[in-house]
Amino acid sequence: MKQTIPRQLMLFTAAGLLLTVWAFPVIWGILTSFKTERDVLAYPPVWIFTPTLDNYRAVLSGADSILPNLWSSIVVSSTATLLTMLFSVPAAYAIARLKYPGKQTSGFYVLVTQMLPPVGLVIPYYLVLQRIGGLDTYSGLILIFLTFSLPFAIWLMVSYFEDIPLEMEEAALLDRAGRLRALWYVILPQVRGGIAVTTIFVFLNSWNEFMFSVLLGGNRVRPVTVAMFNFISVEQTQWARLAAAAIVAMAPVILIGLAAQRHIVKGLTVGAVKGGGRR
């Protein structure tokens, strides 16, 4: 059936809307980061301007540098992601493919822990960490990052493990592999894609986390998400520098998002179709 002209128009309008509304703001932000403060405040808005790297220089070096914050983010997010994957992959395998008493309850428990509102967790964490001097420490922050990463990762991995045909373990057992070697040689290689996707999501979630970082971190441990507020205060907003800081802070996740977009889309839909998920 031939597409009529108005129909095509509608389709392109929809696509255009999508691109404008969702992509343009990011592009606007990038543009702003290269403007001087004067150019930002100019009205009518300047489209042609002399780009400057001043904002990036200010954000990456000197007194206002957010490099230490980048480092905080890297340490906290990477460690949290690594720990999460180490714990969640075996756990998910057990839930997905092994028989043991309390299977239903444990599965349900994992699901429920995914739904906990962060504000409910941050209050007791704050009180406890304060008492034991765990505020503003890497381990304190990484530990609470596990609260949202671990259940999410388990649930996502469970759906990947469930996709493998049932007879895989049986064939491996008959081939004298034993349970552990069956998992290592036969099952895990088949969920490599799932592990990659889950790792990406866990890392993204950790990198972008804010509430725990701002309340339980401090001057030493201060991820980039908190550092954003360096450039905005009651008196004034350093527009261009804020934009530059945002770009720098978000550069890793944007790059990962672009590089792994197919994986991410697949991961989103798998999670949506098969089970709960927090992102």
Partner: protein, 351 residues
Amino acid sequence: MTQRGSIRIEGAVKKHDQLTVLHGIDLDIKAGEFFVLLGPSGSGKTTTLRVLAGLESLSAGKVFMDDEDVTSKEPGERDVAMVFQSYALYPHMSVEENIAFPLKMIGQNQSSRNLAAREAATKVNIEHLMDRKPGQLSGGQQQRVALARAIVRQPRLFLLDEPLSNLDAKLRLETRIELRKLQRSLNVTTVYVTHDQEEAMTLADRVAVFMEGKIVQIDTPRNIFARPATLTVASFIGSPPMNLLAAQWQGSTITFKNGDSLQIEQSTAASREVIFGVRPSDLAPSAEGVSATVELIEDLGDSITVALLIDQQPIKMKLPHTQLIKENETIKVSCQPATVHLFDPLTGQRL
């Protein structure tokens, strides 16, 4: 030295919660035998196979291999190899790695593993596919990889779970012959599960017919065909299946509902009701006999199958193509007395 691979199952019972899947199975399989478990879906044949593999546990009963009690032994410890219906190949490994995997698990070094894998692959004609991944192979090739993986360990028992069911008809026939030849050359005890009675007939040394969790007959294919032990076995074996009619038996005469009668070999004193059975290929038109109306003639080229009605019951008759019969004719049919099968209408047992 006695050959290894004799299998014995004693009184195997398997329950799934309240449902009993196996009602007490007894099997005695000789070393080197090609033994087929035949039956419709849900009859317990696959469960029995998995019990032999150690993948299912028994609620009661024992399993012996070479007179050793293996009932509580793990699948890996029984020296048994299995070809799954879905082949269960490891998709991330190459064909060579798939076949060599069992040897890797028992600690053989790489070079001797690959050598053995190549040997096994050659036996099933896939030595040219060693570097491919299962996803790049056709169904028939995948099946051979599964076979090679099974034979590479030289186990004492092969278990095959409907290995031909995923292949198309022509491939099925070809592979059937190859399987038989392979088994003969390796001389390994083989237990083979299928619902296809033709497969059972052509492959087996002996067949165990499963119905609803019980074995109803164990015998050579020829004997099962010639003397089915129960009604269900009789109607299951043979293509087209055996014709079965209700009738009265007295003396040496079988009388049908429409009054016609036939003479048979067996005789009985009192009159009794029976189920009369005769294979389509044992029926023929004759001068004297039972009257029947011809409904439909299926011309298969070298033979014709005639669908008849006797007493409004559908009956099939198989004849050479040279016979001339017309549809809607009324003819008389009869059979040799020796080819008659009689069954008790209540128990289904052969008389």
